[in-house]
């Protein structure tokens, strides 16, 4: 690879424009219609999941929800770009991608509901626990991929992070380790323009985040993150490269967080409504819908089928979230280490005795 081939294009790769028109690209091919249809279904479901989760927060059923409304093309693209045996290393914002990998919404939302720190079987779904400390999961992805490569498996690991997270030291160390050990990892940065309130201009002075790649000796590419066709094409190439021994790469997806950082955030304090509205036109759903409708792949009945499927997911989410889980206080001590320490055993005995002495309804108050 020539050095300059590691540099991203001057503008983001795009295969379908805002109006649903195809953009010719000399390098990246348009995914086939079936794939796009599958992606569209994912977008519809993803949007519904985001909106339903938002509603559940307002109803007090979820502690907090970082929505990926507006970023669904990245979420769906990430889930679809991977093979079954591949692994995803997501962040707190990537619940839709997690669900896209087959985790049930109820399990995916355990963290945000507050029942435990993570609610799904990571090995069954090949999805790491959603990471909150920024950029830290990128290193786990590198180590995970290292182990897979060493065993001769052809697993690819896709690691997600946000634009803000690229400023963390761990981003740097992960990119560097990945390149030096030439492991099968794809880093996907969802550049949604903000890290909570801090705009990209305060995050970096680089021409683009994808320009960081050359500093590690890996290719970087920019993609329109609201064009799921382009996301699939660019991620697909990166995943193929990784799988075939071509090493890691960095993909920057340009997208936008349409809602506040989480429900606890008030985004009117740091960005103009104008700016948010302008992104409605670039919505990942409408553009793909326009394209698929125009090309005759999508019709009213398919639309309805997808909507109904999404509604079923939402119903399941409500049902799951409206059920209070049975919580076992001993769980506090059960998993800290494989063998419980005498100290923790003593503490559990104290708690158990306390609970035994206490009428169930008054726990946490005076006995």
């Amino acid at each position: 690879m020539q050095h300059t081939d590691m540099l991203p294009r001057d503008s983001a790769v795009r295969l379908i424009d805002q109006d649903g028109q195809v953009v010719a690209d000399e390098h990246y091919a348009m995914p086939d219609a079936q794939t796009l249809l599958r992606a569209y279904r994912g977008l519809v479901e993803g949007r519904r999941i985001n909106d339903q989760a938002g509603a559940l927060v307002r109803q007090g059923r979820l502690a907090v929800y970082p929505s990926s409304h507006g970023q669904e093309a990245c979420q769906v693209g990430a889930a679809l770009a991977l093979g079954d045996a591949d692994w995803l290393f997501p962040t707190y914002r990537d619940s839709v991608a997690v669900i896209g990998r087959g985790v049930s919404p109820a399990d995916a939302l355990v963290l945000l509901k507050g029942d435990w720190h993570s609610g799904y079987d990571v090995k069954e779904h090949r999805v790491a626990p959603q990471a909150t400390p920024l950029a830290t999961q990128l290193l786990h992805a590198v180590g995970f991929a290292y182990a897979a490569k060493k065993r001769g498996e052809d697993t690819v690991v896709l690691a997600l992070c946000g634009d803000g997270a690229t400023s963390e030291g761990d981003f740097h160390e992960a990119m560097n380790f990945a390149a030096v050990f030439h492991v099968p990892v794809v880093f996907l940065v969802q550049n949604n323009e903000y890290a909570i309130s801090v705009p990209l201009s305060r995050q970096t002075a680089a021409p683009s985040l994808a320009h960081k790649a050359i500093g590690y000796g890996m290719p970087g590419q920019r993609v329109d993150g609201n064009d799921v066709a382009a996301v699939l094409a660019v991620l697909g190439e990166a995943v193929d490269r990784a799988r075939s021994g071509g090493g890691p790469s960095l993909v920057e997806a340009h997208t936008y967080r349409m809602q506040a950082h989480t429900n606890a955030d008030d985004d009117t304090r740091y960005r103009e409504r104008e700016e948010v509205r302008a992104w409605i036109e670039r919505d990942p759903l409408t553009r793909l819908r326009a394209h698929l409708t125009a090309s005759g792949v999508l019709d009213e009945s398919v639309e309805q089928e997808y909507a109904a499927g999404a509604e079923d997911i939402a119903t399941a989410m409500r049902a799951a979230l409206n059920t209070d889980a049975e919580l076992d206080p001993e769980d506090l001590f059960r998993f800290v280490t494989e063998t419980r320490s005498p100290q923790r055993e003593e503490q559990w005995r104290m708690l158990r005795d306390e609970i035994a002495r206490t009428p169930a309804e008054s726990m946490g108050g005076h006995r």
Binding site: A63, V64, L111, L112, K113, G114, D115, W116, H117, T132, P133, L134, G164, A165, S167, E168, G169, D170, A195, I196, S197, V198, R202, Q203, T204, A264, D265, R269, Y270, A325, L327, P329, D331, L332, F333, V336, S341, Q343, R344, Q347, L351, E354, I355, T358, M363, G364, G365, H366, R367
Partner: protein, 342 residues
């Protein structure tokens, strides 16, 4: 309120007495410090335009300009390391790290440089900087948002570590921290951000002093941060059961006010230390050990501690089991060999 030390001059432009939340008191302290000293700058993640995720820096950027309060890239070691460089060059940076767990990426800078540079240079440079960290739980936050990591800082020589439990102390201790020539880790109990109290901006606090929060003769509760409220509640309940409970707000985790604490425990002969952090090798163990050693001849019973369990901080729905509560404190008090009972 027993803060009477006034050897630290406050240059607040005006003095105020008003009832306000701890969040407002911290905001006022920052504003007054910025106004009083051109070298004071406040920065971190989301502290500028947004005013901080807890709104502690609300309005500062607007009022004093981007120069005095601003956002940085998202990198905690970067924030603390840059602040260290500024302090070396005569500024008084006050940085906010968003939650306890997100201070950890800055740990090397804090331990190897912030805490040591004054010593390394034989005082040639001083590190007048404040690291503000919202700490503790009790707010139903998800993992990494509710830790209590004061032990890491208190154990580190060179760092001053304080935590307020009232709006008054929030104001006065933060002003004192910003005025200090030494680096201060300033731990803000999240749970108390919206608790209210009177604040008199002319009252100064001396770092290194504990505060008798409640008089009592039978047993001494030693606490800091959000646990002081718990201690006060427990004292109230115990009083209704006929026990006179003294409460000491330790306030300054390092340096430690041995004088006040030792005198308090000697006066009652019994003590319970309360803290939310896991107890093992913690500030609570330190206090327990010190009190034991210094009050040995005066103790009617072993000093007890009521702390968080030695487990990761609990998920929101488990908080009620995890957190020290009034009953746990009362149980500890009950265990203190009361010979008049049986």
């Amino acid at each position: 309120m027993t803060i009477t030390h006034d050897d630290l001059r406050l240059d607040a432009p005006t003095t105020t007495t008003a009832t306000m939340s701890m969040a407002a008191a911290l905001n006022l302290a920052l504003a007054d410090a910025i106004a009083a000293d051109p070298e004071v700058v406040v920065f971190g993640e989301d502290v500028g335009t947004l005013g901080g995720v807890f709104r502690i820096t609300d309005g500062l950027a607007e009022r004093f300009g981007e120069d005095r309060c601003f956002d940085t890239p998202l990198a905690e070691s970067g924030i603390v390391g840059t602040a260290a460089g500024m302090a070396m060059n005569g500024m008084r940076p006050v940085v906010e790290l968003q939650f306890d767990a997100f201070a950890l990426p800055a740990f090397e800078q804090i331990v190897s440089h912030v805490a040591k540079l004054g010593n390394r240079t034989r005082g040639g440079v001083r590190m007048p900087m404040v690291i503000r960290i919202p700490f503790g739980g009790g707010i139903g936050g998800v993992e990494h948002h509710c830790d209590s990591s004061e032990a890491y800082y208190a154990h580190t020589p060179g760092l001053t570590v304080v935590s307020p439990s009232t709006p008054q102390d929030a104001y006065s201790l933060l002003r004192a921290a910003i005025s200090s020539p030494d680096p201060v880790v300033f731990l803000e109990p999240k749970k108390l951000y919206w608790s209210k109290g009177e604040v008199d901006t002319s009252i100064t606090a001396e770092i290194g002093t504990a505060r008798i929060a409640r008089d009592g003769t039978d047993v001494t509760l030693l606490a800091y941060g959000a646990s002081v409220g718990l201690a006060m509640e427990a004292a109230e309940v115990a009083a209704s059961e006929g026990r006179s409970v003294q409460v000491v707000d330790v306030r300054s985790l390092s340096p430690f006010d041995d004088e006040t604490v030792t005198a308090a425990v000697r006066s009652t002969g019994r003590a319970v230390v309360i803290a939310e952090a896991p107890g093992y090798a913690s500030v609570a163990s330190e206090i327990q050990a010190r009190v034991f050693e210094r009050c040995f001849e005066y103790l009617e019973a072993p000093v007890r501690r009521v702390t968080g369990f030695d487990t990761p901080y609990a998920p929101p729905k488990f908080e009620r089991w995890y957190l020290p509560d009034v009953d746990r404190v009362l149980d500890a008090i009950d265990s203190l060999h009361w010979e008049d009972e049986s």
